[in-house]
């Protein structure tokens, strides 16, 4: 049976604000198979974090789900009661966040925090809790776990705090791990360490990973597939190799050329002209149309069309096919 682990269909979310309604996400559809590592790449305002929050149903009160389905192992998460979701969060689907030190309780030792999670989700006796916590710390390569158990988040470095978070997240062997910008703010060597750890654990536990990031290079290094988002729309979904060899959406292409890489010099990097559309006032069919060099009447007047160029490569652009062959 090849039912994807996570299958999001036509998800649309609106935020109600004092100034009006903001259609933050519009018709988002993508899936993640078991064991796969998928990245959602986008800049600020793209809606990537909103998507992650929606999956776990931890959206802000102002966020309203207009329509859509979030199918997890064949069941629609949006239809579950909050009580049922408590069983899902931390056990079936786990999440780790940006700024790990802020995500941990500052007045509780890290060992005890790991125990809290284990106690919440598993039938484990008190004696075993300590052993489980030490085992969890070992799993994420934290040295001298007996000593670290008693330490508080402020005593640990950023990288260590993130490892503790990962330990907490995988303690109940979830099927899906959502990592929301897990390495932003960490040193580049620590970033590499953490990402390698996530990759190793995903393989070990046969866990799917959804990586949310603004860093296209990081997505390329660690993920099988990449979903590119812009202003609440998905603009392209593809395998990593394909995306770099043959980017189809003008935004994806611009994103690739704007990122400093190991070759070339300053004149080679290009910036993306224009600004994000104001979703309060502007209602556009294609939200990239006012910044796109290929825009024409079809783009402005017609609803966004998702074209499947290959079974693993789809793009939301009217002119994609001509650009592909060009």
């Amino acid at each position: 049976m090849n039912v994807p682990l996570l299958d999001i269909k036509d998800l649309s979310i609106t935020f109600k604000t004092r100034q009006g309604n903001v259609p933050a996400l519009e018709n988002i559809s993508f899936h993640i198979k078991k064991g796969e590592t998928v990245a959602v790449v986008g800049e600020s305002g793209s809606g990537k974090s909103v998507t992650a929050a929606a999956i776990l149903r931890i959206l802000d009160k102002a966020g309203q789900i207009d329509h859509g389905k979030i199918m997890f192992s064949g069941m629609n998460l949006l239809e579950f009661s909050e009580r049922y979701m408590l069983n899902i969060r931390g056990r079936e689907i786990s999440m780790i966040f940006q700024n790990p030190r802020a995500a941990l309780n500052p007045i509780r030792s890290v060992g005890k925090q790991i125990e809290d999670i284990i106690r919440m989700h598993g039938p484990v006796t008190k004696k075993n809790l300590y052993e489980h916590a030490i085992a969890a710390l070992n799993t994420v390569n934290i040295s001298s776990p007996e000593h670290r158990y008693h330490q508080y988040p402020f005593e640990l470095s950023g990288g260590m705090c993130q490892r503790v978070m990962i330990a907490m997240a995988i303690s109940c062997r979830p099927s899906l791990l959502i990592a929301d910008e897990p390495t932003t703010g960490l040193d580049v060597t620590t970033q590499a360490n953490i990402m390698e750890l996530i990759k190793t654990k995903s393989t070990e536990l046969h866990m799917s990973t959804l990586l949310i990031t603004h860093d296209l290079s990081m997505a390329a290094q660690y993920c099988d597939r990449i979903i590119v988002m812009h202003a609440g729309h998905i603009v392209e979904i593809s395998t990593t190799d394909d995306l770099y060899k043959n980017p189809l959406h003008p935004y994806t292409k611009k994103l690739i050329t704007a990122t400093p890489s190991e070759r070339g010099n300053v004149d080679d990097i290009e910036f993306i002209p224009g600004n994000l559309p104001n979703l309060l006032t502007e209602s556009l069919n294609c939200r990239f149309s006012n910044r796109c060099e290929f825009v024409d009447e079809k783009c402005v007047n017609n609803k966004l069309l998702y074209t499947e160029v290959s079974p693993t490569h789809s793009v939301a652009c009217w002119r994609a096919e001509e650009n592909a062959t060009a």
Partner: protein, 335 residues
């Protein structure tokens, strides 16, 4: 003569001794007994030069001392040992309090890391840029001030009509431009940029980087570009300095260092940069060792270094030249 010359500077922070009894600490106030206090060695003998119109990149991770070095150079803090020469004048002899009143203040300016936090939340963009013009150049005349600020706004492509806005009403890119405009307002010879684009989206980063390149050419400034993003540093800088735990471990021409790193740490740093083409990656294990009273005879990288041997534990490697203008502090590199 180099524009800036840093000679063997040390900076130590005295830490509280956790184990001291009350009697000892009280008597310590009167005796000024410092030997009981452990100290954090933020900078352990850093030396380098920046020439006129040169762009130098400073790379290193948290705890390497980059922030302390930046503070020392722009005279926000004092150093314990060593000298800092600006155009041949020893500015480390001038205390931070007095430095603001000297003519040197206008020579070194800084674009700080967080472009939002570096702006006074109650000052408009106009007032932020006006600050150094009033304090350092003593421009009081309203028209003159306005003209100069408009000129600076144009130089950084900041829309004039937004000058009356407060920081929270501006976008990330706009705030970055204001920080840059403020820093170049007094025509500094040396501009220190502390991770100026790390908080920005990739598309905005591209704009700001191009702006920085343009400004350097137009205004004949030298840059000290502090960043953890080696790709950016390679593109923008002529020379790169790599720091680890308060010491310079490697310095050389940007391209050479990037494509043929000599020090194991530089190698690890470069291989950690994510990219689609990466294969042989060096992943550093473990944590940075304690910067409190480190043993002066032990190489500070030896705990995590993939190449570490006995010699690294008994002799501190010194910077030596391995090829033209390429210096490395490691026992393993043959000249």
């Amino acid at each position: 003569m180099p524009l800036l010359e840093i000679k063997n500077i040390h900076k130590r922070y005295r830490m509280k001794n956790q184990n001291q009894s009350l009697i000892n600490s009280l008597s310590g106030i009167f005796k000024k007994n410092h030997s009981n206090h452990p100290s954090l060695h933020a900078l352990g003998g850093v030396s380098f030069e920046i020439q006129e119109n040169e762009s130098v990149g400073l790379v290193g991770e948290s705890g390497c001392g980059k922030s302390t070095l930046v503070k020392a150079i722009c005279r926000l803090t004092d150093i314990n040992e060593g000298e800092i020469f600006l155009n041949g004048v020893d500015i480390s002899a001038i205390t931070p309090n007095k430095f603001g009143h000297t003519s040197h203040r206008s020579q070194i300016q800084v674009v700080f890391q967080d472009s939002h936090e570096s702006l006074n939340p109650r000052y408009t963009a106009f007032q932020c840029i006006a600050d150094p013009l009033k304090n350092i150049l003593h421009i009081r005349d309203k028209t003159q001030l306005e003209n100069k600020i408009n000129e600076l706004a144009d130089m950084v492509s900041f829309p004039r009509e937004l000058l009356h806005r407060l920081p929270h009403q501006l976008s990330g890119g706009q705030k970055a431009r204001i920080n840059i405009a403020r820093a170049i307002a007094v025509s500094p010879r040396l501009l220190i940029l502390d991770e100026p684009t790390s908080a920005l989206d990739v598309s905005i980063q591209a704009v700001i980087l191009k702006l920085l390149v343009k400004l350097r050419k137009e205004l004949n400034m030298s840059y000290l570009f502090v960043s953890h993003d080696l790709n950016v540093v390679r593109m923008l800088c002529d020379k790169i300095i790599v720091m680890y735990m308060g010491k310079v471990v490697e310095t050389g021409d940007a391209k050479t260092l990037y494509y043929k790193p000599a020090h194991p740490y530089t190698n690890a740093l470069i291989s950690s940069i994510p990219s689609i083409n990466k294969t042989n990656r060096v992943i550093l294990d473990g944590e940075i060792s304690s910067p409190i009273d480190p043993d002066p005879n032990v190489c500070r990288f030896s705990g995590r270094c993939p190449k570490s041997v006995n010699q690294c534990q008994i002799e501190q490697p010194l910077l030596h030249e391995i090829s033209s203008q390429h210096f490395v502090a490691c026992h393993f590199v043959d000249p």
